[in-house]
Symmetry: C2
Subunit: 343 residues, 2 copies
């Protein structure tokens, strides 16, 4: 790994217009915090254009708070239905939901990227359905940037693959390595598998099988599998640039780190970003935490704009496509095969 050039653009972020569709009804405290986040994002980035997707009155609140000259940067798509946090995601992703309308705006080319604060299940389901998955991808993964003293660690999946399978975790290792190179400027990214010890063989059945499969998997962008890493390696950084796990464990670890670092003794800057990039879908999608506040939403919008401007998602697809398809067609590999067990 070299970090001499952490940004693939030599430290000069590419500018240019970025048109972001924002789900006004996503998250636990919508629309208030989303309105707040949209205003913060607009004032921070003069080349940002927003497509606000949701109720007319919430969009008007944003427009009313903007200077007249800035209002032309904001357009509105009026949608009133939402997906509640308690609903089963798939059943309720209807044409009229805001998160689906946001995805459709990206699909139709009316926006370059989308941001929603969830529910993450609904946001992922709508994105995958409307934008499509990359060829061969079984399930997309949500990748969170965790800041550490050694630079950001990419943790994925943090909420999609709740009963994770071997193929999903191996595909996420491929996607994570490609994203680390394309978005974080990490050359030859080191990919670790999250487990309960760093010695070979540690972990549950799924981890033992995935470790065998990853030892035998080509990773893009010069990436290499460096073995097992532990819970503390995510907030402390060091051994791995990318840490792969199932969405259940990843979600709990990320929220645990957020809770621990959210304590008053820690500076604001040490709080992990609450926007996660969706990997494995043919479009740029950022999903914020359901409990995101205004600054979190604004940072999610800024992440979406950066991913669009740096063409990160097309680059990930270019780096990962062949490997993902190859893994998918070898998808008959089972945990029992990997562990050498007889059925």
């Amino acid at each position: 790994m070299t970090r001499s050039d952490r940004s693939p653009h030599g430290g000069q972020p590419p500018s240019g217009t970025a048109r972001i569709a924002v789900d006004l009804l996503g998250g636990d405290s919508a629309p208030a915090v989303v309105v707040d986040g949209a205003l913060r994002a607009c004032s921070a980035d003069p080349d940002l254009h927003l497509l606000l997707v949701g109720p007319r009155e919430s969009a008007d609140e944003v427009l009313g708070a903007l200077a007249v000259g800035d209002r032309e940067r904001v357009s509105v798509s009026v949608v009133d239905r939402t997906v509640g946090m308690g609903d089963a995601p798939m059943r309720h992703v209807r044409r009229e939901s805001t998160v689906r309308a946001a995805a459709e705006a990206v699909y139709a080319g009316r926006a370059d990227a989308m941001v929603s604060a969830g529910s993450s299940g609904a946001a992922v389901a709508a994105s995958a359905h409307v934008l499509g998955r990359l060829p061969g991808v079984r399930r997309p993964g949500l990748a969170a940037h965790v800041p550490t003293a050694h630079g950001p660690v990419l943790l994925l999946d943090v909420g999609v693959t709740i009963d994770g399978t071997m193929l999903e975790l191996v595909q996420h290792a491929v996607l994570g390595a490609a994203y680390a190179a394309a978005a974080l400027g990490v050359a030859d990214p080191r990919v670790g598998l999250l487990s309960i010890g760093s010695e070979p063989g540690k972990g549950d059945r799924l981890r033992r099988a995935v470790a065998v499969a990853l030892s035998d998997t080509a990773l893009p962008a010069g990436g290499r599998y460096i073995g097992l890493v532990e819970g503390h390696d995510v907030p402390l950084g060091g051994p791995a640039d990318v840490v792969v796990t199932d969405g259940f464990t990843g979600n709990i670890l990320l929220k645990g780190i957020e809770g621990a670092t959210g304590r008053p003794a820690l500076a604001e800057g040490a709080r992990p970003a609450r926007g996660a990039a969706l990997l494995g879908v043919a479009g740029t999608v950022v999903v914020c935490h359901g409990s995101a506040d205004g600054p979190d939403i604004a940072s999610g919008i800024a992440l979406a704009a950066r991913l669009h401007r740096e063409r990160v998602i097309p680059a990930v697809a270019g780096l990962a496509d062949d490997l993902l398809t190859e893994l998918s067609s070898a998808g008959g590999l089972t945990i029992r095969d990997a562990l050498g067990e007889r059925s």
Copy 2:
């Protein structure tokens, strides 16, 4: 829940001699850090007696550093073999291992409790084999105290039940409630199940099934199941006094919190204690982190002494025995049953 009397002894810790068997060869940096921890524990507690189990030269190092008058508080059991961190625990728990010799000293009444810094697999296997499990207990659990602004949260299991089952998690809820009452002085402990959202139905198959089973399970000491909690609820505290999870997830969450709070910006006091109490075994056993340092070992020894002096483990057994046996005899309950699925 009332916290008016957090200590079951009214704030006056019971004193009296506590004889602790210490595994000199447990942990990644043994014996040096164990020697250091033993010396720190001795000087902090004048009623502490140590039985040092391990190589003669390490024990002599402790004895040589003590004042002459304190040396009578330290006895030695010379054992030279150890269990390496990379070994499969069960196969290597031989009569001559230090951790097994420490457990045998407790069983024989030569010590009141034991402390080892692992490997935790070997420490748990030796303890369960030599001291025996409580009636009906399928697998013991390691319970960690996580300090929060709302008082300690008990997180279990943090490393034994790597491929956790429904019965194991439900039995750990019973043991955790009993321990919260007996060791932490929590009346009517609130027990939460760790998952990826607090709304009913969130989580993987195991969590959805355990949530159904816990809703229907009597908990000791006035304990009650309060539903699902999330990763941040462990370091922040608040909703639950006891948080139940499988040993894979619990280990990763605990180490993630340790890594996040171990950052320089946080005061030493905010670092979680690295000693975990073993629940479900008929004896007092504290297992420290493999990467424990001297102060961590000393705090593990102090915890073992306190658990002995306050008769916590017998109290846990008294509170939990009937419920554990009842659960065990209803052990035919499967995840499919709990989720109402047809096979």
